[in-house]
Symmetry: C2
Subunit: 307 residues, 2 copies
């Protein structure tokens, strides 16, 4: 296989990393993954970890006389990462994002490593690292898209895109708020019925009507189970509905006429966001997260190697 | 001292209890406290714990031929407590609350124990246990009060009072949400500047203007520290402002003309709630929490002993 590997794509996150061996046409030759995310690497071991992970793909080593490009997105570019790639600023386009890549000093010859920057917003302070590359991949696939693209997760991101440019974004702590409340608060005793779609939708509607009611609604999940035999049977769905619903209602109110919505993500969480949007009479296409990441890394590779 | 003790007042909570030796005029002869709250007592040891705590007050034991009334509020009346005192329903008055007291079966003679009920609300489910007794004490001291009384805390309670009656209430998970986010979430890295009054007030105003922005504001505390050198220096005050501000804005919108606000609590937290109310151009008297609890237990004692 090694003779055909043209470059390596890497998404290096906080808790794990994924990497892909790519041929000259941008097709995937092999996939790899590891739990050696940023928070498990000390003393600058990033380069050694990378060599270890690609060794199987290059049984004869890297061809003498050439260097193998490696394009990295994600937390590897954070201050506490491999080599800081300072945040790019808004408005951001694929080419300007790629131009902000940094090249870490390397111990061994053979690799040409480019670490892509994250993106920051100064007024209404916000940051992302990794998601901007997924957005670039999304824009490469849908160059005419105008609207909001959501990347649901621990820190859910919504980016506004027009004319192939990211013009702003908003992060919501939804996933983490759900996590700490469902595991660490009194609501941990009420986490039944996660799949109750009706309870989820009722919570979405409630918090859309009364956004300021949020902290009271949370206690109502617990109290509902105490005051009535039928209450609290769908506590997990209610908590999810209040949290995701609060986020969705805030975004829907910001949508301009003619703007679309897209979701980058996989499986259950993306489907749940789509269901929440449908309560507001909006639909959203769901775009595969790996395809978006790879699309963004391909685009950066093309810019960085002048293709 | 024992010759003068007429009855015992007890506030038995989840994590600790407080008790008072009272004379026939309702004056305090002695105070006691213990960390033997509900969650540390197993196998029905409530009675033994109580005897242990009052033994010092009764060096000669309880006078033969009479029983000493003990009036208990709080979690001792919960299902998992000493003896369940089913929730009273709204609208609630001091006499009807006292009438819901239950008498646990006792092993030893000499005490006449009354455990007061909590209060529940069926539509818009909500519950309290212990705070209703503080509200009774407040109403005894201010019989003409009409408006909202707040008991700030882990689960902050707001009760609406008119004509000596509790007509409704709302619990907000503010204290617990602050706790889990400041200790368990990514915001734990941003908890500086707790006493920054300007940042606290800015957060109060922001969340009042844009209640649906809450989950995005939370992430902005973290992002502010990353995108600007001055950002994030008052993260603790901002988190407190967003959380308390969300609660206060929701209550202020429910205030009818002519209604007052009072705060039952002590020290820093009550002062913070008052400051948040002042941002909305409302003021609130702060009532001592112990005085309110004892006032409520005195009132219940009078009803239960037909005084």
């Amino acid at each position: 296989m090694s003779s055909k590997i043209d470059w390596i794509a890497v998404d290096w996150g906080t808790s794990n990393l994924r990497l892909w061996a790519m041929d000259a046409d941008g097709e995937i030759l092999a996939r790899g993954e590891s739990d050696l995310g940023l928070n498990k690497i000390t003393d600058g071991g990033f380069e050694a970890v990378l060599h270890g992970l690609i060794a199987d793909w290059l049984p004869d080593g890297i061809t003498p006389g050439r260097t193998l490009p490696v394009v990295v997105c994600g937390m590897a570019g954070a201050r506490q990462g491999w080599c800081e790639a300072p945040y790019a600023r808004l408005p951001a386009q694929p080419a300007t994002l790629a131009a902000g890549a940094v090249k870490p000093a390397l111990q061994q010859a053979g690799l040409d490593v480019h670490i892509l920057p994250g993106l920051c917003q100064i007024d209404d302070p916000d940051v992302m690292r990794g998601e901007e590359t997924q957005l670039v991949g999304f824009m490469a696939a849908q160059p005419d898209f105008a609207g909001w693209v959501c990347l649901p997760g621990t820190h859910s991101k919504w980016a506004r895109i027009a004319n192939g440019t990211i013009t702003g974004f908003r992060t919501y702590m939804s996933g983490e708020v759900f996590g700490v409340l469902s595991q660490q608060s009194i609501l941990r005793h009420s986490m039944q019925g996660a799949d109750d779609a009706a309870a989820f939708e009722t919570a979405i509607r409630h918090v859309a009507d009364k956004p300021g009611d949020f902290l009271h609604c949370l206690f109502g999940i617990r109290a509902g189970g105490l005051v009535s035999p039928d209450g609290g049977k769908a506590g997990a769905a209610m908590l999810s509905g209040y949290v995701i619903g609060s986020e969705i209602a805030d975004i829907v109110a910001r949508l301009d006429k003619g703007e679309s919505i897209a979701l980058i993500g996989d499986g259950k969480l993306a489907a749940r966001y789509r269901q929440a949007l449908q309560v507001h009479d909006f639909d959203a296409a769901i775009i595969d997260a790996e395809a978006a990441t790879l699309g963004g890394l391909r685009r950066a590779h093309a810019v960085l190697t002048n293709q």
